[in-house]
Amino acid sequence: MMAFTPAALIFSVLTVTAYVIANFIYLRFRKTPLNPVITATVALVAILVLFDIPYATYMEGGDWVAAFLGPAVVALAVPLYKHRELLQKNLVPIAAGIFAGVIAGLVSGTLFTRWLGFTEELILTVLPKSLTTPVAMQVASTIGGIPSLAAVFVMVAGFTGILLGPYLLHLLNIDSPIGRGIGLGASAHGLGTAKAFEYGPEDASMSSVAMTLSAVLGALLSPLAAWLLL
């Protein structure tokens, strides 16, 4: 699957370069819409469209970069392990929040898309949107959705968490580090966790734990939800 072609070299280097520049821009201005994933994606899409390069050709290089996704998902075990004391001390509320969030997300996403008459493929693509991108993409491809579109919906979910999350949390009187952290991490994954940092370190730890546990539970329950609700 992974080829040693000139295209592979050009497009893997191009992807890394776009990412480095995008990160530099983000660190310089620190504005949410300048999220490096968004700016790097827009730049790369513009290059593909401008030079009329098919996505399949780009992916000869893209595959080399994407190959790190699998090991990165495995690596998420390390930050979770480092938070094990926090997890042990708050096991019941954390578990309750994760279960409630994952089930609410799977059920509402599936039902809304079904009610509006979308195809099964698109329903299965929306399904894993609350999971962290690498897991969401792998879940989408496992259950029959479209991984690259799933990644887009994950981004939309993340930005919803960052931009509207604080208002919702305030409205629902969710004002403790555990409530805010679990809410943000379970719904808006890594982007939500970045937002949780602004509330404080305890919110951020909770959010990081919630992100990882939601990804695992979501990966386990997504096939079941697809089977039950479709």
């Binding site: 190959a67 690596a75 390390v78 929040g97 609410a104 509402s108 609350s130 690259s148 919803t160 719904s187």
Partner: protein, 124 residues
């Protein structure tokens, strides 16, 4: 020597991934092999079968560029432009609303139960 340690630990992570994928294929499980690899590594750390020091540097290094690895996939939207010019644009408000429901449910449940168990502790 730090770079050698990081490279070796990245290979260990890749090994966990391969084992996870093998188990997934063998048992025909409907979940990604990477999640199985994650569960194996987390269990190995918890049970002290595998020490944190032997994986920490590699995992931290790999995760510090996490968003890079999914850029090739997000670039894939280039093939789905027409979807969002039609009915597909409705998928965006669906995702927004469903995300808010998810956040509300998760945040409310965890805070409510945390407060209740704190109140119980005070009573006893």
């Amino acid at each position: 020597m730090k770079i050698v340690r990081i490279v070796l630990q990245l290979l260990v992570l890749y090994g966990f991934l391969l084992i996870g994928e093998a188990i997934q294929a063998l048992l025909q499980l409907p979940m990604p092999g990477s999640i199985i690899g994650f569960l194996l590594l987390f269990s190995a750390l918890l049970l002290k079968i595998y020490p944190l020091e032997w994986i920490d540097a590699g995992a931290t290094f790999l995760l510090s560029f996490l968003s890079l690895y999914f850029i090739p996939a997000t670039v894939g939207v280039v093939d789905y432009g027409p979807l969002f010019s039609g009915k597909g644009v409705l998928l965006l408000p669906i995702v927004v609303i469903s995300t808010l429901i998810t956040m509300g449910a998760a945040g409310f449940a965890s805070q409510h139960i945390a407060n209740r168990s704190a109140a119980q502790k005070e009573e006893s």
